[in-house]
């Protein structure tokens, strides 16, 4: 008897092209079809109105003529070279930072035995497409050659910075230090080196020296002493250098526009992070007094809107300091925003700390690690990695909340609209166009940040077993 072999039927490629897709996605059943039928005309109408607004009726000369005002506000025009230099140095800093982080990821993947995924240029474009599109929009509105030159310079600087991926592993921290240093230098170019700015650079260089010189051959306490000496030496050198080069700049009291928005957000984020960390640790501390103080602060700040803290800074802080020390509006605003964000960061970090299984702490104690080492080497790295997406979400929030500075007459990106509409030509027209432009600007940056945070979330989750 011949056995009938059961031949598996050949796999059929899915039949039908677009029509099948339309049928299955848009009209699978009655209810869905009704939905489609209702939504399509609405969508078409909205698109039609949008096209009319953007391409036909819109008075976009308001943006073209005031583009510099939107970007840098009332920054003195003869000092514009500082902002140009700053953009190029920032591009370099981002290039170095991106290259160093990519290289560290590759190393970590190699060590863990995971496949190494190279980040192509196209994938970077895809990640930051909203920011790139916004920059292209700005270039479209620009009516001088300067923005194009700045773009070219920035791209070149970024490419130069990404050469940092060839730094050997031993000196990887040099890459990070270089990146942070370039960031600080960008700030100094615009703000000048007078005053207290040497301290910022000194701290950064000291930290860089501490992490760069590991003195692995030397044992125990002596290594710490040597590293400390290296850090102090770096700080002293910085101080001496700064005292020599007196480079006046334009203090941040004179900044406005998108430039100010970005820097204020950056400062608020950077300043809030250590404070938030300290508050989170204090809230979980075993000292009851510290716990109460931290909890009181966090609950107070989280219960009030940011605008009340800005009012406090605006109306009250000046009186709380002795006469003669009058911090500018922007200093006060940044202080208020940093204090506000610190409370939220503290809550997020606390959540992260709580999510660490208690076994980790017990194991660390069993190994005899003192609390400081335990926190630094075991608990905090895990906790922070777990909450990076939530932290990025909070940072997006503070970036958007910088628009509140408009209410206290600081002309950041949204507030420049008031300046534009006080001009004779635009007093009564083009209100909607400026609003849409500002909205697009905020959206571009916030969207890019939120996509990064989602990517990080996926990557961190995938990394865990």
């Amino acid at each position: 008897m011949t056995a009938s072999t059961l031949e598996p039927s050949p796999v059929q490629a899915p039949v039908g092209g677009p029509l099948t897709w339309v049928r299955s996605r848009l009209f699978p059943n009655l209810r869905s079809s009704i939905l489609t039928v209702l939504l399509t005309p609405l969508l078409a109408y909205a698109l039609y109105r949008a096209v009319l607004f953007f391409f036909v009726n819109g008075r976009w000369d308001v943006v073209t003529r005031n583009l510099t005002l939107f970007m840098q506000g009332t920054y003195p025009r003869d000092q514009q070279w500082r902002i140009v230099t700053q953009i190029i140095v920032l591009a370099f800093a981002f290039g170095v930072g991106a290259a160093t982080s990519a290289a560290s990821q590759v190393d970590a993947a190699r060590e863990a035995g995971l496949p190494v995924v190279k980040q192509g240029f196209l994938s970077v474009l895809k990640r930051f497409w909203s920011v790139i599109a916004f920059v292209l929009l700005l270039l479209y509105f620009a009516n001088t050659a300067t923005p194009w030159l700045v773009m070219g310079g920035a791209i070149a600087a970024f490419a130069l910075g990404s050469l940092a991926r060839f730094i050997p592993r031993r000196f990887r921290s040099v890459g990070w230090t270089l990146s942070v240093l370039a960031l600080v230098a960008a700030f100094q170019v615009v703000a000048g080196t007078v005053g207290y700015s040497w301290m910022i650079t000194a701290v950064v260089l000291a930290a860089g020296a501490w992490s760069a010189f590991k003195f692995e051959g030397v044992e125990g306490r002596r290594a710490v002493v040597y590293r400390g000496l290296a850090a102090v030496a770096a700080a002293v050198v910085t101080y001496l250098v700064y005292m020599q080069l007196v480079f006046p700049g334009v203090g941040w009291d004179h900044w406005s526009g998108l430039h100010l928005t970005l820097w204020v957000s950056a400062f608020a984020i950077v300043l809030s992070f250590p404070l938030g960390l300290i508050l989170a640790l204090a809230r979980r501390s075993s000292f009851p007094v510290l716990r109460w103080l931290a909890t009181g602060y966090i609950e107070l700040i989280r219960g009030v809107p940011l605008i009340t803290l800005l009012f406090m800074g605006q109306y009250i802080l000046g009186f709380m300091l002795p006469q003669g020390t009058d911090p500018s509006s922007i200093t006060r605003a940044i202080t208020a925003m940093a204090l506000f964000t610190a409370a939220y960061v503290a809550e997020i970090v606390r959540g992260g700390l709580q999510s660490i299984p208690h076994g980790q702490t017990e194991a660390a104690l069993a190994l005899g690690l003192p609390t400081g080492k335990m926190m630094r080497m075991i608990i905090l790295p895990q906790a922070l990695r777990a909450v990076i997406p939530a932290l990025v979400g909070q940072f997006i929030s503070i970036f958007k909340d910088s628009s509140l500075l408009e209410i206290i007459a600081i002309d950041e990106f949204l507030g420049v609209r008031s300046l534009v509409h006080a001009q004779a030509d635009f007093r009564v027209v083009a209100h909607a166009e400026t609003l849409v432009f500002v909205a697009i600007g905020y959206w571009a940056f916030a969207y890019a940040m939120s996509r990064e945070s989602q990517r990080l979330e996926v990557r961190l989750r995938a990394g865990r077993k």
Partner: protein, 401 residues
């Protein structure tokens, strides 16, 4: 084998952990206290120099300005009345905003998981759009799009939608104010209120009775029908008995067509704030709900497919109850955020507490006390909302062993 003697000498003071703990806390308190004292001392000195007082006596002085859309507010009323008006307006905007955000967020969150490609993509676009622009921009955008450059006429040429058959107007639409039907009392209001209270209590009692009956005997309880029946019966009887204490007040424009003289008027500032914040917060709510629905174990959905539940039944009885449990804490956060975001209403002229505080500071009221009152108001709201929603949260939590 001799065990070593435990050492009985204490370590030196500077290394003794117990002493350090106490000393550390004392030092922390002293430092904080000194800082506060320095700050407040300066404040007191500087205020003294300028002859500005610290007390709250300004609360009894007349407000001196008229509050928008509150014709019954007398500008000579004391400032504390203005504060109450501000608190009421904040609460109103908050409540309606939260309601709108909840409903819209639920629809969009579920829509994002829909099979219909258009619905899914539009929901995703909605969320990505509104989540990434500042709430202030949304509020001004909404005011521009709906009221200022929108299709509605101004009040003098308002659209009056008539009520069929009668000569009355059902709805008045304009770009400054909307008129909707309200209620007007014709006497015996207190008695009606008491009877309403009685009706609610009776309905609750009937609910419990029917639930207990069901638990004991297994009969279907129909408790909703029973309670509603009892509620309506008592209300109708008392309504008729008291001779109709409440009547519908149809909206009507005044003689000079400048304001809405009867009915209930909603002003555009309120609608801008509540609507815009509802739209904005709905995007966050949609994300939270989507995340919580996805967090419900897939086995639940598979089981409901196996039981041949319809989509609606699956959501209503299986997925959403479990999802809500996960979603309530972040939703509490969003509700609080919405209430705090109503402080941005100065951009559209809605007279909630922050706008009124700004106006009064601009007119010479002491800034410190005004800002302190403002912060206390928002802390009060935060506390209240947290309390209410925490009760809800606790009811929803699983009882774990």
């Amino acid at each position: 084998m001799t065990t070593p003697e435990p050492s009985t000498s204490r370590p030196p003071l500077w290394r003794d952990v117990r002493v350090l703990r106490v000393a550390g806390q004392v030092a922390a308190v002293v430092v904080v206290f000194l800082i506060l004292q320095w700050l407040i001392g300066n404040l007191v000195t500087n205020y003294g120099r300028l002859n500005i007082s610290f007390d709250f006596g300004f609360l009894n002085q007349p407000t001196q300005f008229q509050i928008a859309n509150h014709p019954q507010f007398n500008p000579r009323s004391p400032v504390w009345r203005m504060v109450l008006v501000g608190v009421k307006n904040t609460a109103l905007a908050g409540v309606f905003g939260i309601a709108l955000a909840g409903v819209l967020g639920l629809i969009i969150g579920i829509g994002r998981l829909s099979q219909n490609w258009l619905a899914a993509k539009l929901s995703a676009a909605y969320v990505e759009f509104f989540r990434n622009i500042p709430p202030l921009v949304v509020i001004v955008f909404f005011a521009f799009a709906v009221f200022l450059y929108g299709p509605l006429p101004n009040l003098r040429q308002a659209i009056e939608i008539p009520l069929f058959g009668t000569g009355r107007t059902a709805l008045i639409l304009s770009n400054a104010e909307w008129g909707v039907p309200g209620m007007r009392s014709t006497g015996n209001l207190l008695a009606f209120g008491v009877s309403a209270l009685v009706a609610v209590v009776a309905a609750a009692v009937v609910w419990r009775w029917r639930t207990r009956l069901n638990e004991r005997s297994g009969e279907p309880h129909h408790r909703v029908l029973w309670s509603l029946g009892v509620l309506l019966a008592i209300l109708v009887v008392s309504y008729v008995a008291l001779g109709g204490p409440l009547v519908i007040d149809w909206p009507q424009l005044s003689e000079n067509r400048r304001r809405i003289a009867s009915g209930f008027s909603i002003n555009s500032g309120f609608m801008s704030v509540a609507g815009a914040l509802g739209l904005y917060t709905a995007s966050h709510v949609a994300e939270i709900i989507r995340g919580s629905i996805l967090a419900v174990p897939w086995g639940q959905t598979e089981a409901s497919f196996a039981l041949a539940l319809t989509n609606f039944q699956r959501y209503r009885f299986v997925v959403l109850p479990q999802a809500m449990r996960i979603a309530v804490p972040p939703l509490i956060n969003q509700a609080l955020n919405l209430i705090k975001n109503t402080s941005l209403a100065a951009a559209v002229g809605y007279a909630e507490i922050t706008t009124l505080t700004q106006t009064s500071i601009g007119n010479g009221r002491p800034a410190v006390q005004s800002v302190v009152i403002l912060m206390v108001v928002y802390l009060g709201f935060s506390l209240l909302v947290s309390l209410i929603l925490n009760i809800v949260n606790r009811r929803l939590q699983l009882v774990t062993r």
